[in-house]
Subunit: 402 residues, 2 copies
């Protein structure tokens, strides 16, 4: 007898047949002797349809009203799934985010969970029901509806698993697990049996969007064992946990590509203490995420500050820096798009010599030029031309994963 | 400076253009110096689409889950209308039924309002906002979402108007007011300037479905002045109030037709005290509404009990009476469909001689046979063949309304 939290995304509940498919997975888990809490997203294109409806009204919708609008989406999927469960003989009850006890801050459209009061979920479990919870949703102190932002349903599921001390949190998707590279593009990508939270975090941030980063961070914080698996193909998925057993011959866990990146160069800033602080604290204030940072060697008392931002923030960054470039003492702002970040991730690799060299060799053999390099304990990233990105992933994958 | 509650049905907010049309009506009301609370239903076919989704899952959905599902509909329309109001410069905020303070009993799908706590609405009005409230919705003691059943949004609007002591409650529809007959069928039907609550109740129950009966009863109870008017054509509508001024030459307020009727005859029951009580208390227990009741003169110690029920209840009634006919001492149950009820309504007519005679004359001149007659203070109804119903309405209307 255990307690399992299962999360299903919008594709998994997009129509009647898919809903019954989910209901059967839940029923099987329950028949195996487990209590089950199910977290679901809005059906298929519901959220996009709702956003479209708002776009017809205004180009600048109130975020509060947008959250009110979007909250309707999961109410449809949770009630339909609860009906499907009852239809196949499984007692079930649906709960909205606020009914399930999700209390958030006021940040509409990207609210953070402040508290989760699970009394209602627990009392429904005690009545021997499967509890179907709307992911993505919360309620703020004003008693207004909020949403948790992109990937919010994963976060909802992990939060429930943490609060209820569930035995496992299963995240069902349309892929069978976490792969060493995107399996749609690289047929010999390998599915991982296990991966650590840290590795998963690096892979997620690199564009291998299987799991949302916030949910992995939350799982790591409360040590919730995650499993990523397919809702259509009933095979074991990938376990995400604190520490993993070594996989033979496997130095790295994945190769990932991220095209949402732009390189910013602030030319000729004074090579004096405090320059970087001024620049990056301004960007932080404006909530622009800076990733890789390089700094050229100072010459003539000046240096260049080079860093990457999400491509969607490139224009904001240019505007912000143009307004402030003279204050920083710089001479020019250059923005370069058309680049991509390719990275390898693996918790074991820092103890192996030659990992970076092997990566660079694979790129060199394919005449791919490296523009920037960044390394961390479990990751090596390079910035290259976007047009070379897929070739680079292939070459690196072939070099490391056999 | 007044306070106006305005209610718009699903057709009035069915798409972007209609939503902006509503927003402009609200803006005009506000610019005239009024505080405004707007109550809206779900858009166009949303509710039907949601019911269809549930029907694909199960033929017997849980009423609780059905209410969860349907509650999503108004969340879409209220948030879109609030956005449209802000887009044209009117500060606005949307509230779900529970946020607006609607507390109901547990009767899912047809919940009754137990309490309405208006603090949130009042505080939003105090902040100078138009408050857009989801009609039809409530929350029960379990903190589960409920719906108020058919016509529930009208009831929500009247309840708010009553609780806030609003100056008027305007019910916007796709007709310009209350007519002496259905204007789509009878082009010379006249729009009424005013009608009493009682007259409106009779007309509503007779199938002139402009206003839901529960909302009129509530308006009468709390003396909320209602106005029925068009959301597309900005002309004065019909006022529904306690007492009306006389309209010259107007003996009756309307002619209505109701085809949802079946005539039940319980043949040969003993002509002794208590028979009617037994029969009608049984029907009441089973929540079958009995309308007109006739009783034949007793002969040979037996009599026939004849009454009407909604046609949708005809089969239930037959089954129930068949099971009990011997207990009642009757010999047979006959059900007759293919009939219609045609009625005239008017609070003044009881003091005028000859109203009934004039009605019967109009029918007689058109060779329409009367099967049953029922009269009350403000209404005369006849049961006739369904095929004669439209001719009957025309003839009676022509006789009374010039």
């Amino acid at each position: 007898m255990g307690l399992i939290v299962q999360k299903f995304g919008g594709t998994s509940v997009r129509d009647r047949d898919r809903i019954f498919n989910v209901a059967r997975i839940v029923a099987n888990t329950r028949n195996a002797g487990n209590d089950v809490v199910v977290v679901v997203s809005a059906q298929g294109d519901t959220t996009d349809d709702l956003i479209q409806k708002a776009a017809e009204i205004t180009s600048d919708p109130s975020e509060r009203e947008m959250d009110m609008l979007l909250n309707s989406g999961e109410m449809i999927s949770i009630s339909l799934l609860a009906m499907a469960l009852m239809e196949i003989g499984v007692p079930a009850v649906s709960l909205t985010g606020w009914q399930a006890g999700f209390q958030t801050d006021r940040a509409y459209s990207k609210a953070r969970i402040k508290r989760l009061e699970c009394e209602r979920i627990e009392s429904e479990l005690a009545r021997n029901r499967v509890v179907v919870v709307a992911g993505f949703q919360g309620l703020n102190k004003m008693e207004d509806l909020t949403t948790l932002g992109r990937g919010g349903s994963d976060t909802s599921a992990v939060a429930i698993a943490a609060a209820l001390h569930a035995d496992r949190c299963q995240i069902f998707t349309d892929v069978e697990g976490v792969y060493t590279a995107d399996p749609r593009k690289l047929p010999n990508a390998r599915k991982l049996e296990e991966i650590t939270f840290d590795e998963m975090l690096e892979l997620a941030s690199l564009g291998a969007q299987v799991l949302n980063n916030r949910s992995v961070e939350l799982a790591k914080k409360y040590n919730v064992e995650l499993e990523v698996l397919s809702s259509l193909n009933p095979v074991p998925g990938t376990l995400v946990k604190e520490a993993t057993k070594a996989m033979e011959g496997m130095l790295i866990k994945g190769v990932a590509k991220d095209e949402d990146v732009a390189v910013v160069t602030l030319v000729g800033v004074p090579d004096v203490p405090g320059t970087s602080f001024k620049v990056f604290s301004l960007l932080a204030q404006k909530k622009i995420n800076v990733d890789i940072i390089l700094q050229s060697t100072g010459r003539d008392g000046n240096k260049d500050l080079i860093f990457t931002v999400p491509r969607s923030e490139a224009e904001n960054t240019r505007k912000l820096l143009d307004e402030n470039v003279s204050r920083f003492g710089g001479s020019e702002v250059e923005i370069k798009t058309g680049v991509a970040k390719v990275s390898i991730v693996g918790a074991g690799m820092q103890s192996h010599f030659g990992v970076a060299a092997k990566m660079f060799e694979a790129l060199s053999e394919n005449q791919i030029n490296i523009q920037m390099i960044s390394t961390s304990e479990i990751k090596i990233s390079v910035i290259i031309d976007q047009k070379d990105a897929d070739r680079a992933v292939n070459a690196i994958h072939a070099a490391f994963i056999h």
